[in-house]
């Protein structure tokens, strides 16, 4: 918000860098400001458009765990708060379809289906890259079953579960239980349909199904229509029973109590990324503590080779997790995850302290996936002509950790190497200082008003 309001900062969101020309002190950066189909200067972010938009799509921010609309905001607190139309789904942009609902409900008149991409040229003395990271795709490790075993999720997915504004309002349910819950309305609908069908027969023959069936069974009523009716009655009873059973099951569902985090998923692994992703141990501990705060019955395991609580107050936090939240830290590299019949995952590992191979059944497995260079890092490295290291992060020298291989272009945060929040924040300030340093004396720096 400070950035959004800062008089000296021009925020170009939903934009991509296409070209960087020139040199230190005199860069020309070509930026494509992509069409949102919503006028930024008019949109007040009220959300009326998304409320009425008839096209539901998967919510990227909630990792597909919830639905968004074809006109959307990535997340509620984003800056700017302007909505954007996803043209891949919006009916107005799909051939042969008509809609226009958002334009109708937008009282600010901000919807503009004819908006075009804008190509801007920005002059800059220095450039700072903060292109971040993306998470390792856990599907690449088949033995952990992500994508195949429903109750194996990633740490970021758990983050959404634990969020009060997330898809489960802060409750941690097993995805299979959630699916069961979500299947209930559909099942009730079919039951309702079957019931309606019975009503038709009842009207036609002026008899309730309950009266009819014993007579039919006794062979007193014969004929094709009666047979159909009888079949319908049986179908309804089946469905009715199923609905009752599922309702009971859903009512008895509990949140996931036994959680296990698997560390170094895609990190410190010669098959994928050999490096350490730095933040995942603390992320797991934090999620474990929150899960336990939310559910005092929760038993959380964190299974990893080393627990890298390396930061100010981190070791103390890890110990607090053990003492107050009863986190059990298990030293091991997990070999495989299988599942029981009820879809509870089973973790197979060697407990290196006890020197035995163990299996641990839990309700939910959480994979702490690796930090990888974002696609933007690769793309920009190509566009700008910057060196990346063999991991794919921007190459820097340890004595000049913010400087890329090109003068006047600096990097901070996970685009340089995996790191946690305080380090990223500190580096961001450092990169700004480097920019100020190299520009001083060039006349490009001036006092803020």
């Amino acid at each position: 918000m400070d950035v959004g309001r800062h008089p000296n900062i021009r925020l170009l969101a939903y934009s991509e860098v296409e070209k960087v020309e020139g040199e230190l002190g005199d860069f020309k950066v070509t930026v494509r400001k992509k069409a949102r189909y919503v006028d930024e200067s008019k949109c007040t972010g009220c959300g009326a458009c998304a409320e009425k938009c008839p096209t539901a799509i998967s919510d990227e921010y909630n990792l597909g765990l919830a639905n968004a609309k074809a006109i959307y905001r990535y997340f509620a607190q984003g800056i700017p708060s302007t909505y954007t139309i996803n043209t891949n789904f919006c009916r107005n942009f799909q051939a042969g379809k008509k809609c226009g609902v958002c334009a109708k409900v937008c009282q600010a008149g901000a919807i503009d289906y004819k908006q075009q991409d804008q190509v801007l040229e920005v002059e800059a003395g220095a450039v700072i890259l903060a292109t971040g990271y993306e998470l390792f795709d856990a599907r690449r490790i088949p033995e952990y079953g992500y994508g195949r075993l429903p109750n194996v999720v990633t740490a970021l997915e758990l983050e959404r579960f634990l969020s009060a504004s997330g898809p489960t309002h802060g409750h941690v349910y097993r995805p299979t239980d959630l699916a069961l819950k979500e299947s209930l309305p559909e099942l009730e609908k079919s039951r309702q349909k079957a019931f309606k069908a019975l009503e038709k027969f009842e009207k036609q023959f002026e008899r309730t199904s309950d009266e009819f069936y014993p007579l039919y069974e006794a062979g007193e009523l014969k004929g094709e229509d009666y047979e159909k009716w009888a079949e319908q009655v049986k179908a309804f009873w089946d469905l009715d029973g199923e609905v009752q059973a599922r309702k009971e099951k859903v009512a008895s569902l509990e949140s996931a109590h036994r959680l296990a985090f698997i560390q170094c998923v895609g990190s410190r692994d010669i098959r994928f990324n050999r490096y350490c992703s730095g933040f995942c141990c603390m992320h797991a501990i934090k999620e474990a503590i929150i899960a336990r705060e939310h559910d005092p019955q929760a038993q959380v395991y964190i299974i990893g080779m080393d627990i890298r609580a390396v930061g100010k107050g981190f070791e103390e936090y890890r110990n607090r997790g053990a003492k107050e939240s009863h986190i059990e830290y298990v030293r091991s590299r997990v070999a495989e995850i299988t599942e029981n019949k009820d879809h509870s995952p089973v973790i197979w590992y060697e407990d290196t302290k006890e020197r035995v191979v163990k299996s641990l059944p839990v309700d939910l497995v959480i994979l702490s996936t690796a930090c990888e260079p974002s696609p933007a890092t690769r793309i920009l490295a190509d566009i700008i002509g910057l060196e990346v290291n063999d991991f794919g992060f921007y190459a820097t020298d340890p004595s000049q950790p913010l400087d890329t291989s090109r003068p006047g272009i600096f990097v901070c945060g996970c685009a340089q190497s995996p790191m946690d929040i305080p380090e990223s924040v500190a580096q961001a300030s450092s990169a700004a200082a480097r920019a100020a340093q190299v520009l001083s004396g060039s006349g490009t720096l001036r006092l803020a008003s």
Partner: protein, 565 residues
């Protein structure tokens, strides 16, 4: 804010003329309560001459309506009932200012976050509550007074305390930004801990060369004054105008007036007296090993390193972050010098966080450095010529013969950290490291404005981290020093010297050190630059001598009164 050109507006006019704007926030408010009814109700309140509901008060149209209503209806107070003041107050205030009304004559009422959003199922009650809130806002607005933003001058100079990697980087960056810098170093030479280090991880460059380069850059700048063998002995003043007393080797004291202070006092490696048979001869610390490696070939071929010596213990619960890296770096160096050497590292968790550090770990393994985990309940025992240790993976006890045992001890806070903490009124944590304003979002700031933090004085840092933090602290200081003056909100506390009894109750509760006791007059005084307007003092004062502007008893009591009426 255009408040600088502030006229008193028409606030002096006898008649109170309040304009009330009720925001629908699309359907966020209007969807759950009756905005029109609230608007009509507002019209009936005393002092209100104009009330209007609009779809979005924050939109260009909404802001335009406020401005034109101020002119048209000669409004001398404006109340907006909408969302959170946290997000939108500055916008509305500046709109008032632009229309010629003193921005402090604006009052905001939150009928969204605290009303429509929490009573989504109770339209009638929500409407009633919104009316209550608006009535209270109007009552307070009646007693609002015009205020002027507080402006203070600013000295474009900075003191950097500590001449290690962090301090040098901060000084150099500030110097490059055109600021005058006074770099205070206690030792006779710049360079700090790096002076004792052999090579730099992860690439093995020479520490001496690295630090010399930084030192020569700082020395070459004529806007950086270097005070060696000097200490800061007193700090007074506040952001923009700190008075720093520096005492040199001869005991001469000089006063420096600066806008900002950077604390880069570093840390020291623990000397592990009584731990693992430490003797400084064949059982030494990593820093002692560094010094030996620097001075020539190592006369030991069997080296055992023990991690967490004196760290992650009851006495020192923290992990010192850099010792695993140091051990691995030195192990590699020893193997490079003498591939026949045996280096064995006993660890608890090998903390090679991040990309380049982990690379060193596997590279060292490839070079033949041995690693074994030890159990903290059964730590290694250093005997005459073997280290006896329990290997939990095998469940067996091994004897490792050694020529040299190297203890990886943590970096600890300097002994004088508590004294500096008191001197500058900046906090330290339980390990005596300086405590930043926010662990995640403000790692290089202190809660006290104008003082910044970097390097191992904050928490053990590698060379690269110390450098980044030093630059970062300079950047943070730059956000202050690049301004031509400091402008702060007028909503601060004032103390009436006529009624103040000098009990100093306010002084005790002020978290910002903004209150001073004037011993001559026997009364307390507020430093308006330091005051953040929290109101602790005002609510504590037994004689009601302290008044927080914008929240005076008259204003607050009027709100309460109309609420209860």
């Amino acid at each position: 804010m255009s408040g600088h050109a502030m006229k008193k507006g028409n606030a002096d006019a006898q008649e109170t003329r309040i304009g009330v704007f009720i925001c629908h926030c699309g359907s966020n408010i209007a969807g759950y309560l009756d905005c029109e009814a609230v608007t009509k109700y507002a019209m009936t309140l005393p002092g209100v001459v104009y009330a209007k509901n609009n779809l979005y008060t924050c939109s260009e149209a909404g802001i335009g309506e406020i401005k034109s209503a101020i002119a048209e209806h000669k409004l001398n107070r404006v109340v907006v009932a909408s969302c959170s003041p946290r997000t939108h107050m500055p916008l509305f205030k500046s709109a008032c200012g632009e229309a010629g009304l003193n921005p402090y004559l604006f009052e905001m009422v939150n009928i969204r976050d605290q009303c429509s959003w929490v009573h989504m199922q109770e339209r009638e009650e929500a409407t009633g509550k919104a009316m209550d809130l608006v009535r209270m806002g109007v009552a307070k607005a009646t007693f609002l007074e015009p205020q002027e933003d507080i402006e203070s001058s600013l000295v474009r100079r900075a003191v950097v305390i500590g001449g290690g990697m962090a301090g040098l980087s901060a000084a150099e960056a500030l110097g490059d930004m055109g600021m005058e810098v006074i770099l205070v170093e206690r030792e006779p030479r710049l360079g700090g801990l790096l002076r004792r280090i052999n090579r730099i991880a992860p690439r093995g460059g020479s520490a001496a060369e690295l630090i010399e380069e930084r030192i020569s850059r700082v020395q070459s700048r004529d806007n950086i004054k270097i005070c060696l063998e000097s200490e800061v002995t007193a700090v007074g003043g506040y952001i923009g105008n700190y008075e720093v007393t520096v005492r040199d080797r001869a005991g001469q004291e000089s006063q420096e007036t600066v806008g900002c202070i950077v604390v880069a006092t570093g840390g020291v490696p623990l000397v592990p007296e009584g731990l693992f048979g430490y003797n400084g001869r064949n059982v030494i610390t990593q820093i002692e090993l560094e010094e030996r490696l620097k001075s020539g070939p190592l006369d030991a071929t069997r080296v055992v390193m023990i991690q967490c010596a004196g760290a992650r213990s009851a006495e020192r619960p923290y992990c010192s972050r850099i010792c695993c890296l140091t051990a691995v770096k030195n192990a590699i160096y020893i193997k490079e010098q003498n591939p026949e050497a045996d280096v064995h590292i006993l660890y608890r968790d090998i903390q090679m966080y991040g990309a380049e550090n982990e690379r060193l770990l596997w590279e060292s393994r490839g070079m033949g450095v041995r690693y074994d985990v030890y159990n903290v309940e059964r730590p290694p025992v250093v005997k005459m010529d073997v280290v006896e240790f329990y290997q939990p993976l095998m469940g067996e006890v091994y004897d490792l013969p050694y020529d040299l045992v190297v203890l990886s001890t943590p970096v600890v806070a300097r002994e004088d950290a508590p004294a500096i903490s008191q001197l500058m009124r900046i906090p330290i944590d339980q390990n005596n490291f300086f405590l930043e304003a926010h662990a995640k979002l403000r790692p290089l700031d202190f809660a006290t404005d104008g003082i910044f933090l970097c390097g191992s004085a904050r928490y053990p840092a590698t060379v690269g981290e110390a450098r980044a933090q030093g630059l970062g602290a300079a950047s943070r200081a730059g956000t202050v020093l690049f301004k031509d003056k400091l402008v702060t909100s007028a909503l601060v506390a004032t103390i009436n010297p006529e009624t103040c009894v000098g009990c100093q109750g306010c002084l005790m509760v002020c978290p910002y050190g903004a209150i001073r006791f004037d011993t001559q007059r026997g009364v307390c005084e507020v430093n308006t630059i330091l005051c953040k307007g929290c109101g602790n003092c005002a609510s504590t004062c037994p004689s009601q001598s302290v008044v927080l502007k914008g929240f005076s008893p008259k204003q607050l009591l009027s709100q309460i009164r109309v609420m209860l009426s």
